[in-house]
Symmetry: C2
Subunit: 457 residues, 2 copies
Amino acid sequence: MKPSLPQGTRDFNAEVIYRRRFILDTITDVFELYGFEPLETPAMENLETLLGKYGEEGDKLIFRILNNGLDHPGRRAEAVTAFGNILAGRNEPLITERALRYDLTIPFARYVSMNLSRLTLPFKRYQIQPVWRADRPQKGRYREFYQCDADVAGTTSLISDAEFALIYLQVFERLKVEIEVKINSRRILSALAEACGASEHFTAITVAIDKLDKIGLEKVKEELAAGGLQPEQISLIQACLTLSGNNEERLSKASLLLGNTASGLQGISELTTILEYIATARKDRPADIYVDFTLARGLNYYTGTIFEVKAKNIVMGSIGGGGRYDDLTGLFDLPGIPGVGISFGVDRIYDVMNELNLFPQTVDAAPKVLFFNLGVLESKAAFTAMQELRSGGTACELFYEHVRMDRQFKYANKKRMAYAVIIGSRELEQGTCVVKDLLHEKQVSMPLTDLSSYFSR
Amino acid sequence: MKPSLPQGTRDFNAEVIYRRRFILDTITDVFELYGFEPLETPAMENLETLLGKYGEEGDKLIFRILNNGLDHPGRRAEAVTAFGNILAGRNEPLITERALRYDLTIPFARYVSMNLSRLTLPFKRYQIQPVWRADRPQKGRYREFYQCDADVAGTTSLISDAEFALIYLQVFERLKVEIEVKINSRRILSALAEACGASEHFTAITVAIDKLDKIGLEKVKEELAAGGLQPEQISLIQACLTLSGNNEERLSKASLLLGNTASGLQGISELTTILEYIATARKDRPADIYVDFTLARGLNYYTGTIFEVKAKNIVMGSIGGGGRYDDLTGLFDLPGIPGVGISFGVDRIYDVMNELNLFPQTVDAAPKVLFFNLGVLESKAAFTAMQELRSGGTACELFYEHVRMDRQFKYANKKRMAYAVIIGSRELEQGTCVVKDLLHEKQVSMPLTDLSSYFSR
């Protein structure tokens, strides 16, 4: 058989892993600097934990796991009937009762619900794990991909919203990716619908605004008109979407447009507070934060602040997003726990850094040393020396076979080794070795006893 | 609904993750010191990649994934027929064509087969990922658990066998777990069957010897007798299993018993070579390596050297094992690639270290600092100070709400924070703060500008 990979999945080789690790370690470090603690949940959840949480379309994209032991002879008739339910699009625990994690938010909510009595609120967790979706694979869209989330459960304090913006800024400063953080509030979108006298069209307005980036203002207006909005309502929306000036100016103009609604006042005051905290933390380096009333973040559970991060100097979808939600665990019969969280789009960040050539040259593993194999006694001398190098933290290996030098050089080159160490019969006699710097094509001879300190420089 | 976890799966909280990370980072470091590179493969493999690789019992423990879109109306009749095949215990791609990874060896073999033309042989990879098995859950046995493997593909050199023993020794030295590495060769087991004139009973002999630890010598002899072996054959086996003396002595006694067989000679000579290389690398610290002719490593694909690692001072199954196999990728139509590899039992290593109290006290995240929230202006001053601390690598957070101090102290204690920083109205006026060392119940007042250097000591 010719082996292959399931559609939409990937193997990651060393080169890719080192680069992904650089991104993920940076994010982890920053999460921990802000007091977040790691959580890991199993790949499988009970199917009923996941069903109904991602909308009808989402349910169809959940990978379900076939129960084991279906071939038990005593249960076949029952199984055939149950399979009929699957064919009718219904859930059927007799056939499948477990499924693969579809995102990290529902498992987080499930964890908080199950462990609430043991947790200290506010509970700040981060989670970096793969998720699985039966989406049609296409460029940049995979059936297995990593999500990288941080959330705070159990506080309405806007300090946490401000900190998430700071986390974005600090992570991307460390990665040397230039970004803009866009911020808005769902309350402002809701005030906009209210100010138009079209609160019943809130969802339609949000959906239309969410498309602004893709289809442009004229098409959005057409969509709003098609949805039944009157010209004067549409011009109020247009006015709000096209406000000019810096953040403070736009917020103050918005309060003229929306200040007659409670949610407008609250949204504007919340954004103002968040911006103040951010400015306080970054006195010397004003942040690239942009209050963007056109930001909608699709149809999801956000109720307050929403975030989105875009990379500069490249055409690419958002590389991060998040927001505040009123009720994290209500779905699990535990209402009243508000939360706020963000997510990093690891695959896209990888693509941005690759295209803009932002990975540091040192991102690959430390320079490695190949000891040549020039015979049994010679390789044993190498073996002793290598053990000392490894104790000092230098990665090294011995060529396994005693073959011609050119084959050993070829291996060193292909593996992009930085150094070759040669111990031949003459060196063995003298207790020395020759170190070849393969990148700079230099070589130096030294006593074997100096080797460890040479590499630990 | 009351949420729950699927049987046999676990959430890992921060405390457990920090400890597991300590183990996994140590293993990763050592793998890389020996020139191994990371590989990650997807959780899902095509079902046909996995089926038939783990024996009949293994096949039943593979978690299969239900195909999506089964409720498509045009294909129902076909699906019902196909489901009949599942009920009859057969594979049926119309119902399920993907499955969860069952181990890391087959995905590694699949990867080597698919990428051989791009790989430089010998290919040294390590892989640390979860696997899934539909085993009946019990104490210490989970349906999702991590495997942690390193393998070399494409060399028959015994240097690599010796290095795997060194890797075990170095990892457990770093973890401060006292171990014994047992080593044997399948060739010696095969020679034993041959020397008895019972080569056709090789498997039965191996299976019986594998149980020695559990059932004792007398029961093993009974089992061999029940399997049709004659008393003089059984005494030869007993003689080999009970050889006394140090490694060299036992090897030389074994060569008297088995030296008339080609595989006996080869096995003994290979073990001797491996021990020589290990001794060369560890001149100053003789290693706890034990040649154990009773080691069999169950019914698997090993053909040469086999390893097993046991922790001392505790009753616990093996915490590592591995061996050499002749043909890694033959199952994927690519014969002739030999390999050798080892595995670390992460869950058991965790249990050993926990029971013997071997985790260093510093294994939890760095000491954290809680800034008290004593009002809007006070918390903004804290916000500025925190940002500087974080730039210097100190993890800290601000209590989100302005509430009574005792509630803030309680949070700091519950989260096991090391320090509290208090900026009240008086401190704000003076540009100072009070730092409380919560673990040693001391406090000190200092200018806010000194805080960063105080914590970066």
